[in-house]
Symmetry: C2
Subunit: 739 residues, 2 copies
């Protein structure tokens, strides 16, 4: 029965059931302030009805208007502007009538540029005179707000404040192999300032490696080769390519969450470690535009960098060290401050009807380095429209989801998922006991080419099914007969290993699902519309030019892409909160594990065989999961769907499956990661590989000198046993067996 | 409606409901092999009916017969005899018709005496000739089985095998203050053999301290002052006092569980640390009888020990070092072996009707140092009778508990709760998600004087209520008008702080609840009938004389005390498995926490105030629990008991309350304990005190030299914040709040 029909006579037929459930829930703590007088009978509405309603009622104009509001100013984490934005989101949710809206504060250490003294890079001649100085801010190019006096000086979050002078060395993308190449070329990084390109690895690791090698400072820029492939005339605002004056901000903290309160929430009562023990760099780092990078690169001496290292700036890229002119040097002056401040998460709840104590959590951060035209406001604008649609549905019909929907707007994500990690630390127990899934959308769009989704294997099937339901926002694709988001996805981003399926990426890290997936073991999904392969990443990402104009004039004039992502997000929320039995892909997960095990054996089998270490228990545990999944699914056919407790039992087993992979002791040497399957690898070469603890240890063994191998083999054997234990746990979690 | 009446026409009225529930559960994994054709309708039977049935149907003669069987031979952990006993228990449960019976093996490192070479202590004269040698075994005194050739040589579990010769030093109870006194007397322990009395602290710690001070061996004995107060004529078999030839065995491993697989289960696939890294002593230790101790003490030289240190052997106790005769020495020769072997837990399940995935676990170990007449077989005999009664009830009426009953017989407890800890490590996730309570009875009786019970505050009220329902097994007490077990308890073991209530002891450690309570946070209870204060502990504990005769002829001729404990155990199982809403004492727990907080402030307030550390958040968190408990209980009044999911939600919140106090990172310096409230103190002076991590750190600060205090204060502040966080978590766990 469709909702439109239902609503007409809902007031007469629906009174009876609503009363009892309401009294019970209201008295047992929860209040439904916005509750209508009537409730629909759940038997009268199908899952498809709700899905259709949510998908159809998302209004692109609402997303546009919200995005316009969200991007009028900057709202850096922990600032008054961030708090204003939190208040705005909270009041929107209150107006929409979510049952609960709360602000959850954390006292955290964030990093800011000086309000008065810019961070500058200077070229000094042999007399110490300034030959050239970098831009203090990015140039306004198009949107009026780019010229706002509130724009902070260009900076890198958590850079150490320092003024250093020295020779400069070009290290390409600053990967381990790049540093090794530089060293092999006879250039010592020690005492030098490193110039690295963004794009291949997380910027924190570039700075970490530079510091470890004795570097005294780091300069980061984006080469036009990677971000402006069609030359400097076809860039923002004429296209979405990167203009010469863009300098992408970012954090260089090494661990997620507040740096001073590892593992515990940064509440008022938290214990804070001394700042010098925090995972923060000790050297200064600064981002610059490629027009400024040219100023340095064009003056550098030393041997030419390899062909591959040459970018598309019109110079020969030399490695250095130093500038060609004798006695000239580079000065890097960073005036950032690490500051204790408060950041807020905004949490809004639509309480579930049957299972208020089961949560489907939707989240995105709302802080931005600058305007956040895409990151994160495209996602936040979508989320605010989604919550509106859900409350509209409730207001019109009295419907409520079976399970609670929890909407979260995270603070200070840009500094390293600070708000969300602190929250998952604070509420770890409840979230672990009660959360069905966490659905993250950071940028709803960073392009209009195809969907890009990461998830735990458990959610792969529901994501595919949702993507099939969402109309294709691309008119040309529609013309080509590709009706759904899925249809474009499978063509433009196919899975190389699974012909006929779109690529579902490994969940990895890098946004607010980190605490959920990797510490608690809550099934997570992260999705967005993305760009094609002509650039590495979205070119205006974290720059001044990530504006409303970029979103509304260049990427998504009709806001159809925003709408498609919002619809899919909403549909997933409906499916996960409404389905009587959780629609988790146990078979996908089991196959994923088997394949990852095979990969390890194929890649490292001979190495492991050189030791007295058997993989038999490990592979048997994979088989045990496979068998347990088969039995579980068979038993599911006979499940008495009318027995609330029988259904709950099965759902609890499903919900706890992902949790089974959590080792409270963490991965080897990485206590900040607990999920033994999905934790990202330390080694970028293995990103997207499961069992990071095993893989990383094995690749360390390959590279280690003989005398260090014994310790690493012990680490490997120990972790292998832990992983095997947890795989067996996962197999058992689907049963009542305690043997 | 009583069961007797119900049974008559149950077959006609009860068919209808059984069918559906059964199909569902059978198909969804669980089988009910012993299921009768009929099931009672749950509405027709009250909680009291079930309680009455269980209490009334426990048959003392059955307990007697089982105890007789269990105590005919020895069954040391990890031996063929232990396995025989496991098979016996398993087959009994199968015969009784439990739904599932399983053997759960662990490969563990245990310790045995040599089968051929006894552990001996010799006094050597100056020419090295043997003047005296200790008994290899304890003398048979009464029961025929005491003369069995299967009795192992007297030994201490995990003593290092070694042959050492040196001077002997008497250290009283071997507490830290005793060692300090000896040192202050100018006697250096280094290079000496230590002679210590059992009774004040855990024997492992005596050996640990001796080893840390350079001692080369330890001899442990029980002084008749503590265990034979009425002289050597009124001892076993004439009384339950200790005879001169008794030498109590025991373990001296420092941590619980298998020594080679800390934190992970000792399955086949486990990683095992090298034995020399295990928490095992590096020096030999041996237990001896007090008649043998006299041989040493009567020859010792050096200054007389203080008056308090004098025991009731007819000599002057000297401190030493060494013997009076010049050139004489003591030789300690221990020939134990640490051996990898397999121990088994036996797990039997009666599957719950409505909530098969909620467990009430009952357990006791079944290994014994020797015959185990009390420890553990009095408990095991009671458990086997209890399971019989439950299956009889099910067979007669079709009744099943609402939640599953899980009966556990643990292996190798005597070696340091090996079987149970490995099991809680293996099934930690499921147990944490699903277990309502763990009810431990190790010895059902160690006396016939009064009940002695330890529990989490959460179970205090249900234990009191149960104890009131159990008829007093003591005829003299009955005559005195004390009808119930409770009535004697409140008189003979009153709570000094709560006039009118019996003493409920702090849960502490020392039996198989360790992994449940202290690592997972499952509410635990441990009960037994105990002795009066004339001895420190049960005098035959762990000796050859802990026989069936001791139980059946001296302590409990009619097996009424065994029966009373079994009945109470069973009643608690009924109440916890049958009650629709879990009968947990949130108010008791909240008050307990407040009082413990007040105690800390009273005892350490001035010390803490000397630092810049506020206790405000800590005490506020206690108040938050109080408030949350009040709100929770208020809401409970309006709970819709007909809504299965509403009831389940409340029960899950109750079940998770104790879990909230678990810190996965463990206590400061003690990762083997996770419960921040109930973990036992490192310091015996504070045993029975809550918040051991805080208390131990504060008392260490008091004792520390100035230069070490800063680190300790940091530890304190850090842990205080963790505790505060977990108290706040507990307050929140009773709600759906995520803010």
């Amino acid at each position: 029965m469709a909702f439109t029909r239902l609503c007409q006579y809902s007031s007469t037929i629906l009174c009876a059931t609503g009363g009892l459930a309401c009294i019970c829930v209201v008295m047992a703590i929860v209040m439904f302030p916005g509750d209508p007088k009537v409730n629909i009978r759940r038997e009268d509405v199908t899952l498809t009805d709700v899905e259709d309603y949510v998908i159809k009622n998302i209004n692109p104009d609402n997303i546009r208007q919200t995005l316009r509001y969200l991007t009028t100013g900057t709202h850096l984490g922990g600032t008054e502007q961030e708090l204003d934005m939190a208040r705005y989101i909270g009041s929107r949710w209150q107006q929409q009538g979510l049952d609960q809206v709360h602000f959850v504060p954390y006292q955290v250490l964030l990093s800011y540029p000086s309000p008065t003294i810019p961070n500058l890079i200077k070229i000094l001649d042999s007399a110490g005179q300034v030959v050239w100085v970098s831009a203090a801010k990015q140039k306004p190019l198009y949107a009026p707000e780019e010229a706002s006096p509130d724009i902070p000086f260009t900076f890198i979050g958590y850079s150490a404040p320092a003024n250093v002078t020295g020779d400069v060395v070009y290290v390409y993308y600053g990967r381990e192999e790049d540093f090794d190449f530089v060293a092999a070329s006879g250039v010592d990084i020690s005492g030098k300032i490193v110039l690295a390109r963004y794009g291949a690895i997380f910027r924190s690791n570039i700075v970490e490696m530079a510091e470890a090698r004795g570097g005294i400072g780091v300069i980061l820029y984006s080469d036009p080769e990677d971000y402006a492939p069609e030359g400097s005339n076809f860039v923002y605002p004429h296209s979405y390519y990167m203009p010469p004056s863009a300098a992408p901000f970012g954090t260089i903290k090494l661990l997620d969450g507040d740096p001073l309160t590892p593992y515990y929430p940064a509440t008022e009562s938290a214990f804070r470690i001394p700042e010098d023990e925090a995972p923060l760099p000790k050297i200064p780092a600064q981002c610059i535009s490629y027009e400024d990078a040219w100023q340095i690169l064009s003056r550098m001496g030393g041997p030419a960098a390899p062909e591959k290292w040459q970018g598309s700036l019109n110079v020969t890229y030399n490695i250095g060290p130093g500038l060609r002119e004798s006695g000239w040097s580079l000065n890097l002056d960073v005036n950032n401050n690490n500051t204790m401040t408060t950041t807020y998460n905004v949490v809004g709840v639509m309480t579930g009807q049957e299972e208020p104590d089961r949560y489907v959590v939707l989240g995105n951060h709302y802080d931005a380095w600058l305007f956040g035209g895409l990151d994160p406001n495209s996602g936040t604008a979508a989320m605010l429209e989604l919550s509106r649609v859900f409350t509209q549905l409730r207001n019109e019909t009295g419907w409520r989801p079976r399970r609670s929907l929890v909407f979260c707007a995270w603070g200070a994500e840009e500094y390293g998922t600070v708000g969300s990690v602190e929250w998952t630390e604070q509420f770890a127990k409840q979230l672990s006991d009660r959360t069905v899934a966490y659905l993250n959308v950071d940028m709803a769009i960073e392009g209009n080419y195809t969907l890009r989704t990461k998830s735990t294997p458990l959610l792969t099937d529901v994501v595919f099914e949702s993507a099939k339901k969402i109309a294709n926002p691309d008119p040309l694709e529609l013309e080509a007969g590709r009706k759904s988001v899925y249809d474009t996805w499978v063509v433009r981003r196919p899975d190389p290993n699974e012909p006929g399926l779109p690529l579902m990426q490994f969940i990895g890290s890098g946004s607010d699902y980190k605490g959920f997936q990797h510490n608690i073991g809550i099934p997570c999904m992260d999705t967005r519309y993305t760009h094609d392969n002509s650039t590495i990443g979205e070119p205006q990402y974290h720059t001044l030019y990530e504006t409303f104009a970029l979103a509304s004039e260049i990427y998504d004039k009709g806001f159809h892409y925003h709408t498609a992502v919002a619809a899919m997000w909403g549909d997933l929320a409906v499916v996960l909160s409404e389905s009587k039995v959780l629609p988790f892909s146990l078979v996908k997960y089991s196959n994923f594990i088997s394949k990852a095990q095979d990969d390890i054996i194929e890649r490292f089998g001979p190495l492991i065989n050189s030791q007295n270490i058997s993989l038999e228990h490990f592979t048997n545990a994979g088989k045990a999961i496979n068998e347990s999944v088969t039995n579980f699914n068979k038993a599911l056919e006979y499940l008495d769907l009318k027995s609330a407790l029988a259904v709950r039992r099965v759902n609890d087993q499903l919900m706890m499956f992902e949790r089974a992979f959590i080792d409270p002791r963490g991965l080897p040497g990485r206590p900040e990661y607990n999920h033994v399957i999905t934790a990202p690898s330390k080694n970028d070469a293995y990103s997207g590989t499961a069992f990071a603890g095993l893989i990383d240890t094995l690749s360390a063994i390959e590279e280690a000198q003989e005398e260090h191998r014994n310790d690493l083999w012990r680490t490997f054997a120990h972790h292998l046993a832990a992983v095997t234990h947890l795989l067996n746990t996962a197999a058992k979690v689907l049963t009542d067996d305690l043997w």
